[in-house]
């Protein structure tokens, strides 16, 4: 009994640092954000917040900009599943294969991840500049001048442009998730399939993909959460503009809080992102578990 209690004390001592970090840097700010979302506050530390109940949530759900930002976040998710996932999987297949120069491919695919997102965003802003940017200049040089567009100044196209840059940056990171899944599949399974005469396509469909289910699960959760809270790239490339057309929930949060000094409403948007992210992640986990 004494030993059991002693073990319990030690266990608590071991998890206390991690719990303290979790509480101070995650739970407490979340609690404060939820609390502030029911108040009107101008964002001045000494100014007293005024309790206004659900008014901030009402304003958020009635705001066309909020729904526009949700639509734009959906674009990120669609891009994530339709472009990023196949691309990252393809890159993972390449770097786990035995082709020559695989080390070079590994480094070059991962390179965009190592660069600061804001810096990459600004580089792309210049490349996509409509009058003298590299993209339009190249299109004009190859005789496709009618394809040259105002990439970041045209509604919807600006979101699609940022989504594509986002896929370019994060393909390398997600490649690692799929590569880890690929290398964990035992070789003898492939050998058995080969003996049974399975084609490469069938091996992919019936062996590789099912055995990589966990990798796809990890990717899906990260993708959904990442898309809901995406901020830095959009902020660096468009700032949510022009005229809110490329707003995503996090840039809208920022605009409400810092530009309009409406911190209560900004926090309400933050809470909506948090709840939505949790619901979608739990739902996805359950859906994938039920299939098991």
């Amino acid at each position: 009994m004494v030993k059991k209690r002693k073990n319990l004390v030690w266990s608590i001592a071991f998890i206390l640092p991690a719990l303290s970090l979790l509480f101070v840097f995650l739970l407490y700010p979340v609690f404060e954000a939820v609390k502030l979302s029911f108040y009107k506050w101008t964002g001045i530390a000494s100014a007293k917040p005024i309790f206004i109940g659900l008014e901030n949530y009402k304003a958020v759900f009635q705001s066309p900009n909020f729904w526009l930002s949700m639509r734009n976040a959906l674009f990120f998710m669609i891009g994530g599943f339709l472009i990023l996932m196949p691309l990252a999987f393809l890159l993972a297949k390449i770097i786990t294969s035995s082709i020559r120069g695989v080390k070079f491919f590994k480094v070059s695919y991962y390179l965009p991840v190592m660069l600061p997102v804001t810096a990459v965003g600004l580089i792309w802003v210049y490349m996509l500049q409509p009058d003298w940017g590299l993209v339009n200049s190249l299109l004009e040089k190859v005789g496709l001048s009618e394809w040259a567009m105002n990439w970041l100044g045209t509604p919807t196209l600006n979101v699609v442009s940022v989504v594509l840059v986002n896929e370019w940056i994060f393909a390398g990171f997600n490649m690692l998730i799929f590569a880890a899944g690929l290398v964990s599949i035992p070789q003898d399974v492939y050998e058995s399939a080969k003996i049974d005469g399975a084609s490469k396509f069938k091996t992919l469909i019936y062996i590789t993909l099912p055995l990589m289910k966990e990798s796809f699960k990890v990717f899906s959760v990260l993708c959904i959460c990442g898309c809901l809270k995406t901020f830095d790239l959009m902020f660096a490339m468009t700032g949510g503009g022009p005229n809110h057309t490329s707003e995503v929930p996090a840039t809208l949060l920022y605009t409400e809080a810092f530009s309009s000094k409406n911190f209560g409403r900004g926090n309400a948007i933050g809470v909506v992102i948090l709840v939505l992210g949790m619901v979608l992640s739990i739902g996805l986990n359950k859906a994938m578990k039920s299939e098991d």
Partner: protein, 439 residues
């Protein structure tokens, strides 16, 4: 023994993590980190401004800060300059939210500091004026934007007027005279567009550009009262009067006056286009004179007042301008730190400071009365600007500066961007009005 050692190490590491966390929090205040001043230690004054660029004003300002720090008078200025307007104000908001606001900061006064005044974070300068009336009297009477009742929460540091700069080479090559009225400006722009020249390369990616244009058009069309009427909602942003102005901006854009892609060009890009001779016009403050020196268009630029509507000559002298920016001081709660912050502001608004700035800029217009340095060579353009400013009768800032809602400046500017997309004047007005809380 080994097990006990492992446990000991684990506990020590755990304790270190927890203690390091306690070190992260606890201290508050507004950042005068080095000592409290009352013990005779060096006082650090954090000063934020937008003057971090390469133009004369920024260089001079930062050079004077260096000189101040070399005085070794127990006060050190730590300057934090953010040149981009939007980023500057966003950073300031986050600092005030976290309680880490600077001791001294540049602002536009009016609504932009209303929340700070209500929050009780700004220092009333009236007691300091009473102590040193000479300092107060050295300023031109431009305190309105920083006054609230009997209190004064800032001092003006800039006197400005939005003017129209033009490239004389481009205009004379196309047989265009200096435009005095809006109608003449439109005729000039039409001629330039027909000749394949960009009249203005508007940098509307920085959304204040169309905001400033709207201010000027409104003042010239309806006089200075328009700002008060908008603030009281007597005339709202979806009124016929305002729709007419939005339509004018949209019409100019559609006619090509603002270049091919104004939403993809920021204010710096707009400046670069004008200073490299690619565009013919630019409206900007009087300070822009200092940025022309040494560029490709040096000697090829002239300036005039922002044009007026020919049929509204009565509003010709109503301009966007005045005490555009000022220094405010945050109340640190420590008298020694507050006194040090006032010292810094006094230094940066002294007669010597402005005499030196005038010399460095070869002219300029300033909010402080001072005697010019005898060696100052005032350029012709500055002489002309002084004449233009003298002709102005009413100075008004951004129309939203006196609005009861702080967010309106940003709301109006963002909505105006819609005019450069597929928005209509009506949708622009509706967008602004939908975000008003004070009806």
């Amino acid at each position: 023994m080994k097990k006990a050692l492992k446990k000991g190490i684990a506990c020590t590491l755990g304790a270190a993590m927890i203690f390091s966390l306690t070190a992260c929090g606890g201290s508050s205040g507004n950042g005068s980190e080095k000592g409290d001043g009352s013990k005779g230690e060096n006082i650090e004054i954090r000063l934020t401004s937008r003057w971090g660029g390469e133009e004369t004003l920024s260089k001079y300002f930062n050079q004077k800060i260096e000189e101040f720090n070399e005085l070794d008078n127990g006060i050190t200025i730590v300057a934090d300059n953010v040149t981009d307007e939007q980023q500057y104000f966003d950073k300031l908001s986050s600092q005030f939210g976290a309680g880490t606001q600077p001791n001294v900061f540049i602002n536009y006064g009016g609504t932009s500091i209303k929340d700070y005044i209500d929050g009780g974070v700004l220092l009333d300068l009236e007691p300091y004026f009473e102590e040193d009336p000479e300092w107060r009297d050295s300023f031109l009477p431009l305190f309105d934007n920083w006054q609230d009742g009997e209190a004064t929460y800032g001092v003006p540091v800039m006197l400005y007027q939005i003017l129209l700069y033009y490239n004389t080479d481009i205009l004379s090559a196309n047989g265009i005279e200096e435009p005095k009225t809006i109608e003449e400006l439109e005729a000039a722009c039409d001629k330039l567009v027909a000749a394949g020249i960009t009249p203005f390369q508007l940098g509307e990616s920085s959304n204040f550009r169309a905001g400033h244009l709207l201010n000027n058009l409104c003042y010239k069309a309806y006089g200075g009262d328009i700002a008060d009427k908008l603030a009281s909602r007597e005339i709202n942003y979806d009124s016929e009067e305002m729709l007419e102005m939005y339509a004018k901006i949209q019409e100019w854009n559609e006619k090509g006056y603002f270049g091919s892609n104004p939403l993809s060009v920021d204010n710096n890009g707009e400046k670069a286009a004008f200073l490299s001779g690619e565009s013919a016009f630019r409206y900007d403050g009087a300070w822009f004179v200092g940025e022309i020196t040494g560029t490709e268009v040096d000697g090829k630029v002239d300036v005039t007042a922002f044009p007026y509507f020919a049929e509204k000559e009565e509003y010709k002298a109503c301009v966007q301008g005045g005490s555009g920016q000022g220094f405010s001081i945050t109340d640190s709660g420590d008298e020694a730190v507050n006194d040090a912050a006032v010292e810094v502001v006094k230094y940066l608004t002294s007669k010597d400071y402005y005499a030196g700035l005038e010399k460095a800029s070869n002219g300029g217009i300033y909010p402080v009365k001072f005697e010019s340095d005898p060696e100052t060579e005032i350029d012709d353009m500055t002489v002309k600007i002084k004449g233009i400013v003298d002709e102005a009768e009413e100075f008004h800032g951004d129309m939203q500066e006196i609005d009861p809602e702080t967010h309106m400046l940003n709301t109006v500017r963002t909505a105006l961007q819609g005019l450069f997309l597929d928005g209509t004047p009506e949708s622009c007005g509706e967008e602004i009005v939908s975000q008003e809380e004070v009806k």
